[in-house]
């Protein structure tokens, strides 16, 4: 009943673990069988291993969270060797979230991932926590278009482009990415944000700004998903502040095919199970046979 199809890949349900909030699934598999999820987006990968940022990495805000992890990850090869086998041992749809600082780095990463069992590449052009690139690609349409066009040329996996809410114009950005070859879109990544340590008289984070996520951003993220759904026809994965099944249904009614849950995983490791159950219950009560009936209905 909750099944959804994204570009020919069937997900058991529309609930996907968001990149960077779920590791590679191992830790959570101790709390619930991660096979019950619709899918998992891996921690953001880069071609080479990264240690991530120094200083404070996590800071709480009103109904939200700022993070400056800085793409700490084992690198694409490390992922393929050490983490992918675990995920392959599970019946679960895998989105490999891929970041980078240069186009070449992205393309090399894609080539490596092409030959694996992952289902989608989620192209992260929106990470605000890496100085040398990442989000820069996600602000202006022209640079996004370029990287997506190149990525599409080499990708043998369906290409989902993850948009930044910091994009100058989210509709134009979505349109540009699709024009350049994106098979699907996911949005939003974190909002660029600031916190000040008033006693040290300095920004809390070494990079000055960091990425804001959590329920605080939901109303804005939902608006963006709705706006994007008005201008593109590719599948959209809605992300941003989802903490319960009602939030998930809002995103689907605003036009999302599936949704990702990020920060909420930190307040309850099995919260996505609750969300899946809630969606099911809602569908039963409302007599909805397939989520297609309510997608984009508003």
């Amino acid at each position: 009943m909750t099944k959804v199809d994204i570009l020919g890949v069937e997900l058991k349900n529309p609930v996907i673990a968001a990149s960077g909030t779920f590791g590679f699934g191992r830790e959570f598999d101790e709390y619930f069988p991660i096979e019950s999820l619709g899918g998992i987006s891996t921690k953001g990968l880069t071609l080479n291993k990264r240690d991530g940022n120094k200083g404070i990495r996590i800071y709480e805000t009103a109904s939200g969270l700022m993070n400056s992890i800085g793409l700490q990850n084992p690198g694409v090869k490390g992922f393929i060797e050490d983490e992918l086998p675990f995920l392959e041992s599970k019946d679960i749809v895998i989105l490999a979230n891929l970041g980078g600082s240069t186009i070449e780095e992205y393309l090399e990463g894609i080539e490596l991932l092409n030959n694996t069992s992952i289902h989608f590449i989620e192209l992260n052009i929106s990470c605000p926590n890496v100085k040398e690139g990442g989000m820069a690609f996600g602000i202006k349409c022209s640079s996004a278009e370029e990287i997506v066009r190149e990525a599409k040329k080499v990708a043998k996996k369906p290409l989902i482009v993850k948009l930044s809410p910091n994009a100058e114009n989210i509709q134009e950005m979505a349109y540009s990415c699709v024009k350049a070859g994106a098979d699907g879109l996911s949005l939003v990544n974190t909002f660029n944000a600031l916190a000040v340590d008033i006693y040290r008289r300095k920004p809390v984070f070494e990079n000055i700004t960091a990425g804001l996520s959590g329920p605080c951003i939901k109303p804005i993220a939902l608006r963006m998903v709705y706006e994007v759904s008005q201008v593109v026809d590719v599948p959209i994965i809605g992300i941003g502040g989802i903490v319960n099944w009602k939030d998930a249904i809002e995103f689907i009614m605003a036009g999302a095919t599936a949704i990702q849950v990020g920060s909420a995983n930190f307040i309850k490791p099995d919260i996505m199970v609750d969300i899946i159950n809630g969606i099911q219950e809602f569908m039963r009560e409302e007599g909805i046979k397939s989520l297609d009936e309510i997608r984009g209905i508003i």
Binding site: G20, T21, F22, G23, E27, F28, E30, Y31, F32, P33, K43, D51, G52, K54, I56, R57, I58, Y59, E60, T61, A62, S63, G64, L65, N67, I69, Q72, G214, P215, C216, V243, S263, N265, F266, I267, K268, P269, D270
Partner: protein, 244 residues
Amino acid sequence: MKDSYRKGIVFSNTEISPNIYELVLEGNFQGIPGQFYMLRSWEGTDPFLPRPLSIADIDSGRIKFLYEVKGKGTHIISKLKKGDGLSLLGPLGNGFDLSQAGKIALISGGIGIAPMLYLAKNLSGEIHIFSGFRNNAYFLDQIRPYVKTVNIATENGSLGHKGLVTDLFDPGDFDLVYACGPMPMIRAVVNICKARVPVFVSMENRMACGIGACLGCTIETVRGIERVCKEGPVFKGEEVVFND
């Protein structure tokens, strides 16, 4: 499968010293000294994240936490009354190595005394505790039965030695040291013990998930970046890389 958040019921929640509370919950909770739980006792998403607290003691059907009211989260927890419910995830982290024996020093700074009762209870060997406080000492009465000597330092000299707890102990006297407290103290203890006596330290950092997934709580170690919530919170002193 491990348990996700489950419920605890407040048995008591007492201010044992200004701003320092002892929270006792009913329920069957597990864990070894040095491990911690994530606690949440509010509805809504502000505060957003649960709060990590070390196990202060576990007895049949009861778990104890000792905490200092710092900000929003601990303030809300301090208002809990007998019978109120709250949610807990744990036990988390690695805990102290209990297999060691000999003459052992426990060193705490401020609220870093929280895990020391449970630790002292579960260690064999001859245990001496060295505890530093700003001005008021607390929790030591409960620890006294399990240790050979209690040594106190206060910053203002109102109790015990006036100065730092690190002034009080000589690493040469001990076979092993366990330390928990603020970062400057931890660093000082590690420095003093260096190459003389093995030391285990309980590290602290801001946490989001508490289970090793978010990479928010990492520190630098000689092995590379590690997670306080997963590889820690207890680390060998010589393994921690103290920056600046």
